[in-house]
C-alpha cells in the first residue's frame, strides 16, 4: 500500500496511428472517439446499424410436398435472414410432433372428463404458454463445444419467448385428420373443419393428443454487437413466417395393437400411430400479437475527461459539438447498438430492452457493473427502444 501516494505517471507524448491505438488501448481509443462526438464505427451515439430482413427464403416448400414422417425428418417451417451492419443472422425453424401423455386441464374433453377437470384445475396462467427451443450458433471459424455465450443466448431467447406469452400451447395442438380410402378406391383426407367432418374424425382418431414442438436454429456469422438482440429480432421475423403442415392419420393404422412379452408376462400395447403431414395443406402459426416485440441494447459509459482531445489541443479546436459543452454535467453517454471490440469490452453497464410497438416491454435486463444507471439514462434508452421497436415493426409490415 506504500505506493498510494505516488503520482500517476504522466502521459508521454508518443503518438500512434488510430488503428494501432485501438488495438493497444481500446479504452483510450474509444474515449477519444467519444469525446469527438462520434463512435469508432462513425455512427452517432444513438444511431443503430442498418437492418435488412428477408423471410421465408429458406422455407422448403418442396419438402412440404413430400409426405414425410414428422417425427423423423425435420423440414424448415419458417426462416429469416437478418443482416445488421456486417452481421448475418440466419434463423430457420423446424418442427416435430410429440404426444401429450399427461393431461393438462385444457385437454380434457368436457363431457366425459368434467369430474377430473375439477381436481386438476390449475388457474395458473404461464403454464398455458409455450416457447420454441432455440439453438444459437455463433460461427467463429472453428469447431468445438458450445460456448457459454451461445448457451446463455439460447436460454434467454427461450425465457423471453415463454414469458412474452406469444405462443399458446393450444395453438400448437395438432388436430389430425383421417385419410380414408373410398369405395371407388380414391384416397381422401378428412379434416375436422366442419361439424359433420368432426364427427367422422372423432370416431376414427384415437384419443390421443399431439402437439407440434418448434425448434429454432439461429446461426450468427461475423459476430459483433449484441447477439441477443439480433437473434431475437431474427427469431421474431422467422416465427411470423412459420407455416405448419396439417397432419392426418391413415385409416388403416387407427386400431393397431400389439403384444409385448417380457419375463413371462404379457401386456397389450397400443402401437404408436404414424402421424403424417399433409403435403398440400398448411396454415400459418397463430401468434398472439401482444408478444410481438423487438430487442435493442444500449451501453453506458462514463466519459473520461483526460481523454478529451478537444482539451488536449483546445487552442485550435473550437468547433465542438453539443456534447462538449454539456460535458461538465453529463459525464455518462448512452450508446445504441454497441458493436466492435472496444465498445463491447469497455462498456460494463448495459440496458437491453425488448419492446412491443405499443410501448410495453416484454423483457428488460440492466447490467450495472460500470457506469451508474440513472433514471434519466434509463428513460432515454426506453424512449429509444420504443422508437426502434416501431421502426422494426414497420419493416416487418413492408415485407
Amino acid at each position: 500500500m506504500a505506493d498510494v501516494e505516488e503520482n500517476v505517471v504522466e502521459v508521454h507524448p508518443v503518438s500512434f496511428p488510430p488503428e494501432i491505438l485501438a488495438r493497444i488501448s481500446p479504452e483510450l481509443s474509444l474515449q477519444r472517439h467519444l469525446s469527438l462526438g462520434f463512435r469508432s464505427s462513425s455512427r452517432g451515439f444513438e444511431e443503430f446499424r442498418d437492418v435488412t430482413i428477408n423471410t421465408e427464403n429458406l422455407t422448403d416448400d418442396k419438402a412440404l410436398k413430400d409426405t414425410i414422417k414428422t417425427n423423423n425428418e425435420k423440414q424448415i417451417l419458417g426462416s429469416c435472414v437478418l443482416k445488421q451492419g456486417d452481421v448475418f443472422v440466419i434463423t430457420h425453424i423446424t418442427g416435430g410432433v410429440i404426444e401429450d401423455s399427461t393431461l393438462s386441464p385444457d385437454d380434457i374433453d368436457e363431457e366425459e372428463d368434467a369430474e377430473l377437470l375439477e381436481i386438476t384445475e390449475e388457474n395458473s396462467d404461464i403454464t398455458k404458454y409455450t416457447s420454441v427451443y432455440p439453438v444459437v450458433e455463433v460461427n467463429r471459424g472453428r469447431m468445438g463445444a458450445c460456448t457459454d455465450e451461445e448457451m446463455i443466448t439460447s436460454q434467454r431467447l427461450y425465457d423471453t419467448l415463454l414469458h412474452s406469452k406469444i405462443l399458446t400451447k393450444k395453438s400448437l395442438r395438432v388436430d389430425p385428420g383421417v385419410r380414408i380410402t373410398n369405395e371407388d378406391g380414391s384416397v381422401e383426407i378428412i379434416y375436422p373443419d366442419t361439424e359433420a367432418k368432426k364427427e367422422i374424425t372423432k370416431a376414427m382418431t384415437p384419443k390421443k393428443k399431439w402437439s407440434y414442438v418448434l425448434y429454432a436454429k439461429i446461426e450468427v456469422f461475423g459476430r459483433t454487437g449484441p447477439v441477443y438482440d439480433m437473434c431475437w429480432n431474427s427469431l421474431m421475423f422467422a416465427l411470423q413466417s412459420v407455416k405448419l403442415p396439417r397432419a392426418f392419420i391413415d385409416e388403416r393404422a387407427t386400431d393397431l395393437k400389439m403384444t409385448v412379452r417380457a419375463r413371462g408376462r404379457n401386456a397389450i400395447v397400443m402401437e404408436t400411430y404414424n402421424l403424417l403431414c399433409d403435403p398440400e395443406e398448411s396454415y400459418r402459426l397463430p401468434l398472439r400479437d401482444i408478444g410481438k416485440s423487438f430487442a435493442s441494447t444500449y451501453g453506458l459509459i462514463d466519459l473520461d475527461p483526460e481523454a478529451d482531445i478537444s482539451k488536449l489541443d483546445s487552442a485550435e479546436d473550437e468547433d465542438e459539438s453539443m456534447e462538449g459543452e454539456e460535458e461538465e454535467e453529463v459525464k455518462t453517454v448512452l450508446l445504441a447498438d454497441i458493436d466492435g471490440e472496444a465498445e463491447e469490452t469497455c462498456i460494463k453497464s448495459t440496458i437491453s430492452i425488448t419492446t412491443c410497438p405499443n410501448g410495453r416491454f416484454r423483457q428488460l435486463s440492466i447490467v450495472g457493473g460500470g457506469s451508474k444507471i440513472t433514471r434519466e439514462l434509463l428513460q432515454k434508452s426506453i424512449a429509444l427502444s420504443k422508437q426502434r421497436s416501431s421502426d422494426l415493426t414497420l419493416k416487418s409490415q413492408q415485407d
Binding site: D125, I126, T127, I152, H163, L364, S365, V367, G369
Partner: protein
C-alpha cells in the same frame, strides 16, 4: 429469511440461505492458485458453478451463473489479488419455483447467499450486493415478499433487482432482469419497491454479521 454462515468445513466461506421455500448453499474458496487457463494477469479470476436441486446442470444454470457473475464481478476488490482464483460453488437444495418456467427466486437467493459466503470467506469486497424478487400480478399489484410458485405463475411481470450497497444504503443498480408484460411506469414502481426491500434486507444482513462477529 434464514442465514447460516460458516456452514461447511472444507471451504473458506459458506452460507446456507433460505427464503420462503428456496434454499441454497454457497461456498467460496479463495484466493487460491488458478489453473493456467483461468488466470487473469491483473485481477482475481472468479469461477462460478451452480448445481440444480434435481437433475444435471443445463443452459438454465449457465445463464444463472452468468447473471451471478455480472453481479459479483463489480463488487470484488479484484485488483488486490492478481493471478489468483476465487472459486464459488452453489448448490440448490430446494428450488421453490417451477424450474422449467422460472429462475427468479433462485437467482435472488443465489446472489444473496454468495455475498454472505464471500463475507464469511474474507475475500475482499468493495461493496455488498443484495438481490430481491418482485412480481406484478394480473391486478397490477406489486408483490414484494413471500413470493410463491403460484404467485409467479400468475404474474403479469416478474423482476429480479440487485442493488449495490454503499455506506449502508442501496446505491447503484447492479442488475435488473425482468420478464412479462410491463411498461415504463411499472419499471419505476418496481425499482422503488425493490429499493425499500433491499434496505430491509440490508438491515437484517448487517444485524446477522454483527451478531456473528460479536460471538
Amino acid at each position: 429469511m434464514n442465514v447460516q454462515t460458516g456452514y461447511l468445513q472444507n471451504v473458506d466461506g459458506s452460507c446456507l440461505y433460505s427464503l420462503n421455500s428456496t434454499k441454497v448453499i454457497s461456498s467460496v474458496t479463495g484466493p487460491i492458485e488458478p489453473k493456467p487457463r483461468q488466470e487473469l494477469p491483473t485481477q482475481l479470476a472468479i469461477e462460478i458453478n451452480l448445481r440444480p436441486a434435481t437433475g444435471v446442470p443445463t443452459t438454465r444454470e449457465i445463464t444463472l451463473q452468468d447473471k451471478i457473475r455480472t453481479v459479483i464481478t463489480p463488487i470484488l476488490a479484484s485488483y488486490k489479488f492478481p493471478r489468483q482464483l476465487c472459486q464459488i460453488t452453489l448448490q440448490l437444495l430446494q428450488s421453490g419455483e417451477t424450474e422449467s418456467l422460472f429462475n427468479q427466486l433462485e437467482l435472488a437467493a443465489c446472489i444473496n447467499s454468495t455475498v454472505f459466503a464471500l463475507v464469511d470467506s474474507g475475500v475482499p469486497l468493495k461493496n455488498l450486493a443484495i438481490a430481491t424478487t418482485i412480481v406484478i400480478d394480473s391486478n397490477n399489484n406489486i408483490i414484494h415478499e413471500n413470493i410463491t410458485d403460484d404467485i409467479l405463475k400468475n404474474n403479469k411481470s416478474v423482476h429480479v433487482i440487485v442493488y449495490q450497497i454503499e455506506n449502508n444504503k442501496p446505491s447503484n443498480l447492479l442488475l435488473m432482469d425482468s420478464h412479462g408484460d410491463f411498461d415504463e411506469q411499472d419499471v419505476l414502481k418496481v425499482l422503488e419497491a425493490s429499493e425499500s426491500n433491499v434496505r430491509q434486507l440490508n438491515k437484517s444482513f448487517r444485524e446477522y454479521i454483527q451478531s456473528k462477529l460479536s460471538n
